[in-house]
Amino acid sequence: MKYVDEFRQPGAAIAILKEITKLSQSLSQPLKIMEICGGHTHSIFKYGIEEILPDNIELIHGPGCPVCVMPKGRIDDAIFLAQHPQVIFTTFGDTMRVPGSEYSLLQAKALGADIRMVYSPLDNIKIAQDNPDKEVIFFAIGFETTAPSTALTILQAAGENLPNFSMFSNHVLVIPALKALLNNPELQLDGFVGPGHVSMVIGSKPYEFIAKEYHKPIVISGFEPLDILQSIWMLLQQIIQNRCQVENQYDRIVVNSGNSAALQAMNQVFVPRDTFEWRGLGDIPFSGLKIRPEYAQYDAECKFSLPSNKVQDKKACQCGKILQGVMKPWQCKVFGTACTPETPMGACMVSSEGACAAYYKYGRLGKFTSSNLSPANSISV
């Protein structure tokens, strides 16, 4: 496939890997590089990138999976909305199995709620038009990559004066989350692989504070294996040359100023919330998006009264620490036993972009577990 296969060539991958290995030999101490985006986490595991890197380069899997960072209370709110008899609740497929405090949307569907998976937020318009006696509520989640499409959907609904459509907005913003991470004294990072598709919308400028204030290099990266390897190589060059800059490996997609039409739609419809709760990171100021009062008729939070309870994660579940990169999935006692993709206990095991699901799916147990497992957290498979 064009613009995909070219970035999977083994010859070039071997060449970059040799360059990375050569550069890694001049490092005085091991490096910790965080890929922020869950899409990168998925690719890194799919192509075995973590396994082929030199031992002194460690990849930390960051909080950039919108499904994984969704707190349980918001899932409970979604289920509350979905169970309303007059509601058709729609969602992207990967939120279906995220556990709430009692059950997931998938289980709520099995119990009779009218919950439907959609491919695009625009699909909601037709569902609402076809079901005038029902309220169609879309579970809007995602970072800046997805927020413009939900904003444009609201604008289209407003243009068509659609009375029976609303959204439950759970959009989150990457920059406040990065600030929260960088302010965590537990976290020791040497650089970032920046999110390619969020950056396609916001551009590269919003990351400049990482280089200027926190003195960490960041390379915005594409998602194919050669993209990720090239980005790690670019990061290594920066670190070895003692540079801290925002660089853009994904320049076939990302322009420095971002996508103005997408940003405009997003700003027209959404406004940052004063605070938003993230699973694992807690409350982060101005990190979530709510629908502006002008579009209140499309805001499910205005149309319905929600329980909005804060729900603690189960004690055994370590999703919070895994999302912050301070713990590896295999260090969680329930990983692969009580918590599997079929019966996820925490969100990191649900989405294919979650670190736990990626470790589980691609069987990345051997290299780490063999040397690090203790009897206390042994895995029975």
Binding site: Q9, G11, G142, F143, T145, L152, M200, N259
Partner: protein
């Protein structure tokens, strides 16, 4: 969630609603192109353009020159390593 796939715009299906048919690896699907059209790039001019498709929206036009540059760099690197 944030993954996107490259596709080529083959037809404009609704100029007013900014809808287009995109070919993704042989599969055709209608998508919204509002984020990639402006005065300099009206919908009609988008036929043949490669775009990144995400949840039914074209979110960016793929810069074919930059893509070629990256591929050239990678090919050169592979060649140098082969020689060495």
């Amino acid at each position: 969630m944030c993954l996107g796939i490259p596709g080529q715009i083959v037809e404009i299906t609704d100029v007013v609603k900014k809808l287009a048919m995109v070919d993704v690896g042989g599969v055709k699907r209608q998508i919204n192109i509002a984020c990639i059209v402006d005065a300099a790039h009206p919908p009609e001019s988008c036929i043949g353009d490669w775009v990144l498709v995400h949840v039914g929206f074209a979110m960016s036009r793929i810069n074919e020159e930059q893509a070629a540059e990256t591929m050239k760099l990678l090919a050169e690197l592979a060649q140098i390593m082969q020689v060495n």
